[in-house]
Amino acid sequence: MTIEYKLPDLGEDIETGDIIGVFVSAGDTVIEDQPLMEIETDKAAIEIPAPAGGIIKEVHVNEGDTIKVGQLLVTIEDGKGKAKEPELKEPKNKAVENEDEKIEAIAEKEVQQEMNADPEPKEKIKSETEDKSLEAITEKEEPLLDFKEDKKEKIASDEREHVSNNKAPASPSVRRLARELGVDINLVSGSGPGGRISEKDLRNFAPGEKPKSKSKKETPEPPKIKKQEPGGTKDTDKWGNTERIPMSKVRKLTAERLTEAWTAPHVTQFDKADITELEKLRKEFGQEVAKAGGKLTTTSIILKVIASALKIFPQFNATVDMENGEIIYKKYYNIGVAVDTDRGLLVPVIKNVNKKNITTLSVELSKLSEKARSKKISVDELQGGTFTISNLGGLGGTYFSPVLNAPQVAILGISRSAVEPVYIDGGFLPRLMLPLSLSYDHRLIDGADAVRFLRWVIEALEEPFKLPLEG
């Protein structure tokens, strides 16, 4: 039976996507749920799995195509039903091909004068080749039958099939390293001659193996996907060599969204929180949270504090409708956390932060960040935010002025905490100070509100009891 597989509905509002990798080609045998291709939508990169096992008859789309929901992606022959009939047509084509072979074989003999004239009659060659076609049929039937059997067998037979397949061009030691790093080597593009994959190519591709030196604002390299043509056009201007590379979907979207946000009149309020005591608590309870599977970070604590602050200062949990001259207050508290990934800036959203404790938030934040980095995040997990936190403290810096994540009206930037001398009770004491930057939309929020909001956040961090007391 032939399956015409179309791009399924990917969730709310998503109608199109760009294909950033096609992992199969006609003739490939796939098993159910094996990734066929990866597409990038406005919100996330999504792997499209095979709806059923079978043989790929045709791939209707190419890398770089923009495709719509409902568009035909691949035709799969699933090996059920009347699969044998098309196979039986094979010999005819084969005969034509073998004619070619015959001619080639004869031509070869003419060229190779060193070799004696072959007394073999042509008839004989023909019978041999016919025989081969028969062999071809029996061999081809096997994989089809295999699908009736269990999954393990399918894998084993795939394995056998693959032995002489055109596999990823990499030496055995590099292939072995790929397995150690958990990388599917067939997705890595090689930088060597003929696309040969080196150990370096592999390490550059592997998640977590990449040196984390880039700041968030830098243009991230496009992810290296096999077969992706080196999209750049080499060029020169009067000062030297240049290269033109098309923007990735994420980069383009980031640029568009930020330009839009820039039209809102921004102000940034700076302040510092003394987190000396909080840091002690963080270390003390860190292990407990780790047991639950999360990491107790300053960000996860601030998430909880912000949720309370948003309740007290509702204009920070709102959007502006200028056309109708209205303010829309959100009665839910969904906070986005900016994550630096290979593909650029992604903002997974933690839903209903006010209803979750810090341990739960820590676990959820760890999971979502990891999903964002490994491209496993769903569109749903990137939507519905009412406020955003951007923590660049891990990388350094004192203050920065974050740009709003429109249509949200406020964003909190966190920089690196540092021990500073603070004048307390007649003397200087070493205190751990955390620089905070609150950017807000001045159309809705006045400076005094912003100072009150940020002071409340700081006091909650300095005096953790404030949270249950007022929040």
Partner: protein, 476 residues
């Protein structure tokens, strides 16, 4: 063995070219290993009655055939006198020397060796019937089934007649018959046919299909077939043996098909070499969750793990190709898996060698397979007529060819026919595994005058720029 180990970390059933390398590596990686085999030393079919003894005899055949050939160069020897007992002793000596060495290596590594046959009682226990008739039980954490294969028999043939041989009895060299029929034109039949023909037997070959050596590219086989016409009395293709009757003089064989002029002939000996069958029976596999496919092969995954998670299977019993070196590599992979490494069996090229005269060897993608699977390839052939070294050997009948991906120029396959092809194929395997391009081979200096130059010149031919073959440049 005077003492019996009742538990082991790794049990290995079968000490052939799959089992013993697995045992040795597992022991080297710190695992406690017990190996069970009916012979008194490791070696299996490969050493006792397969690869090794047949190669010892083929070496003899080669010397005899070259001595005949040398008349062309002005050197004539008298007809060789064959002392069959001495030849047999020498061959057995080769085998004993090698298996004895393996026995030593096994002891040095503290691998427990039990001589006997094992069968599963359940997924964690083996019952071993030792050669001395004692029965012991062995508990294991993991087990590797490496029981190999045996020659396939044709039901209805006089399988117990002394005139009917299989590869095992043929290697025992019972005598030198005047006439012999080899049933099956595969590598085993052709290798043993070559041996007996050199010793003076009039050998005929009968093959059911239209060609010898199915699986190998036809252009390579054609070269072998041509030279075989001098070696053999007759080669009957597309011909079936429909009946065999034992007579006083030997076996009366009835043929059907286009290859036989007479449909009944009597042969002193008939060698049946129609493939091999996996030894997956009588192992008590029904007491485990191990599954077997329709052909009797044990079903395995990439790590060679069966459907029963602590039971592994390697070598002939675990599927095609039934080659010793495939089994060895699988065995080493499993040993690594058992020591905790995340590795799988993922070769890009498994070489196949037929030790006929001339030899045929190939690896990676064959031209036939490329055509069948509609893979776009370019084939670069270098005929040995243009090789200096081949000319000095008076063996211009060889061909070396490379199967190349025209998009990347990557070498996907290699095929060779000619003396020494079995040694030359190693370069092809390395090239394919390293994802070498045709230019990598072309630019690597090959020693002169050697047959290995033909590999380099094949790569040159791909670019239309071979030194010793003028051929118009290929379109790219």
């Amino acid at each position: 063995m005077s003492t019996v180990e009742n538990t082991t970390q790794v049990a290995i059933i079968g000490a052939g070219p799959g089992g013993y390398p697995a045992a040795f590596l597992a022991a080297d990686l710190g695992l406690q290993v017990t190996m069970i085999d009916p012979e008194n030393n490791p070696g299996g079919v490969c050493l006792y009655r397969g690869c090794i003894p047949s190669k010892a005899l083929l070496h003899t055949a080669k010397v005899i055939s070259e001595a005949e050939h040398s008349t062309n160069w002005g050197v004539t020897f008298t007809k060789p006198q064959i002392d069959l007992d001495k030849l047999r002793d020498w061959k057995n000596g080769v085998v004993q020397k090698l298996v004895g060495g393996l026995g030593q290596l096994s002891k040095q590594r503290k691998v427990t060796y039990i001589q006997g046959r094992a069968a599963f009682l359940d997924s964690n226990t083996l019952e071993i019937k030792k050669t001395d008739d004692e029965t012991v039980q062995l508990k294991f954490e993991h087990v590797i089934i490496a029981t190999g294969s045996r020659p396939a028999e044709i039901p209805g043939f006089p399988n117990h007649s002394p005139h009917l041989l299989d590869s095992t009895s043929a290697l025992d060299l019972p005598d030198i018959p005047k006439t012999m029929l080899v049933v099956g034109g595969g590598y085993i039949g052709l290798e043993l046919g070559t041996v007996y023909a050199a010793l003076g037997t009039k050998v005929s070959v009968v093959e059911m299909t239209g060609g010898l050596m199915l699986g190998a590219d036809r252009d390579l086989v054609r070269v072998l077939q041509k030279s075989s016409e001098h070696i053999y009395e007759s080669i009957m293709l597309n011909t079936k043996v429909v009946d065999m009757k034992e007579t006083k003089e030997g076996i009366q064989v009835k043929f059907e098909g286009e290859g036989s002029e007479k449909n009944e002939l009597v042969f002193e000996k008939v060698l049946v070499s129609v493939g091999r069958k996996p030894n997956s029976e009588n192992l008590g596999l029904e007491n485990t969750k191990v599954q077997i496919d329709a052909k009797g092969f044990i079903k395995i995954d990439g790590q060679r793990r069966t459907s029963d998670s602590n039971i592994f299977a390697i070598g002939d019993v675990a599927g095609e190709p039934m080659l010793a070196h495939k089994a060895t590599h699988e065995g080493r992979i499993v040993a690594e898996v058992l020591s905790g490494k995340n590795v799988v069996f993922e070769p890009n090229a498994i070489p196949a060698v037929v030790f006929t005269d001339p030899e045929i060897a190939w690896c990676g993608l064959t031209e036939t397979e490329a055509k069948e699977r509609k893979i776009n390839v370019k084939v670069a052939r270098f005929p040995w007529g243009a090789s200096g070294r081949a000319t000095t050997l008076d063996r211009n009948d060889g061909v070396t060819k490379l199967i190349i991906d025209p998009e990347t120029e990557r070498v996907l396959g290699m095929g060779i026919v000619g003396p020494g092809a079995g040694e030359l194929i190693a370069e092809g395997v390395l090239a394919i595994e390293m994802a070498a391009l045709a230019s990598d081979i072309e630019l690597a200096i090959h020693a002169h005058p050697t047959l290995s130059e033909t590999v380099m010149e094949s790569a040159e031919i791909y670019y239309g720029l071979s030194t010793h073959m003028y051929k118009p440049k290929r379109e790219k």
